[in-house]
Symmetry: C2
Subunit: 193 residues, 2 copies
């Protein structure tokens, strides 16, 4: 998503193509995780916390795969509009901000996966709220007849906003899984996302 945001902000075709091509590798890795998890379940027959960790890994791989798909969507819009920039000038700063926040969230999710620290995982939710706020501001701009650019741009911006928001949701979901594994408590999902 970091690269996809660079591609988006600077209309960098080669970066966009790299992001799109890289998605295949993420899909392949996600399949490997699922195969490994099935093997572990069959051969080791884990229980309790170990079992939750293995099933959690299947979910987390699916989340990361979707995050890769969403980054590829951002890159896809950038490629589609090349050599123009997909973003009108007045929303560039918004996307710079959303991109930074989304990537920061993904990095925290990555750290949480390594640390397995439920308190750090809980932080993800607050950071996600910041992205939701950005996203709402973007929609206000699109909808309150202040929009100066084309309908085509508005559609791109609406979808791009959605992709960043969903990317952030998946990062939060990864944190939610880590809490679930640690506590065995029922994870609360962000239902309306």
């Amino acid at each position: 998503m970091e690269d996809a945001t660079v591609a988006l902000l600077h209309a960098e075709l080669s970066v966009a193509e790299h992001v799109i091509a890289d998605q295949e590798n993420i899909v392949a890795m996600s399949r490997q995780v699922e195969e490994a998890a099935l093997r572990l379940l069959a051969l080791q027959q884990p229980v309790a916390r170990d079992l939750r960790t293995v099933v959690g890994a299947i979910h987390v791989a699916a989340d990361i795969e979707r995050m890769g798909a969403l980054a590829a969507h951002v890159a896809g819009i950038s490629r589609l509009r090349h050599p123009d920039c997909a973003l009108p000038g007045d929303v560039r700063d918004r996307f710079t901000e959303m991109g930074e926040k989304a990537v920061r969230l993904a990095r925290i999710a990555q750290e949480v996966l390594l640390s397995r620290d439920p308190e750090q995982a809980a932080l993800l939710r607050d950071k996600d709220d910041a992205i939701d706020t950005e996203h709402r501001r973007l929609f206000t701009l699109l909808i309150d007849q202040q929009w100066q650019s084309s309908v085509c741009s508005a559609v791109d911006v609406a979808l791009l906003g959605r992709y960043y928001e969903r990317f952030a949701d998946h990062a939060v979901e990864i944190g939610r899984r880590v809490v679930f594994e640690a506590t065995g408590g029922l994870p609360q999902s962000k239902q309306m996302a």
Copy 2:
């Protein structure tokens, strides 16, 4: 999604609210599936095809949960624009069509879950292509400067199109899982969705 489409086409507030409220039940059922699957894995320690079926159920529950969320998004846009209709006249037929196709796809997915018939599951992919075609036609309309309505409408229509498309993708994903369970072959996902 059938109800959400009624709410969307006819600006029926009570139907929209019912769809949105019902999402909670789908989330609760999805949690129950996951709990039951974890219990099965811990207590019965299934292997081979049984193991794939149990892990498959966890994925399918997640897909159905997302389908519920997407239907609630459609209903949410309908509620947001009430008492107006969120759809300008010239795209009503498109959404009638997309709604019917999406619901038909979900019903096939439901039948496939019961029949576990991989040949029937393969049919889902063709039906999904029909929705993708509708979705592309919708975007052509939005983007080729033929759009007669407001920017706000264009944004609604773009997001609605995306929600129907993703709903259909999840139905196909359910079919893909059934094939995986039957054959043990690596499922091919629709990577770019």
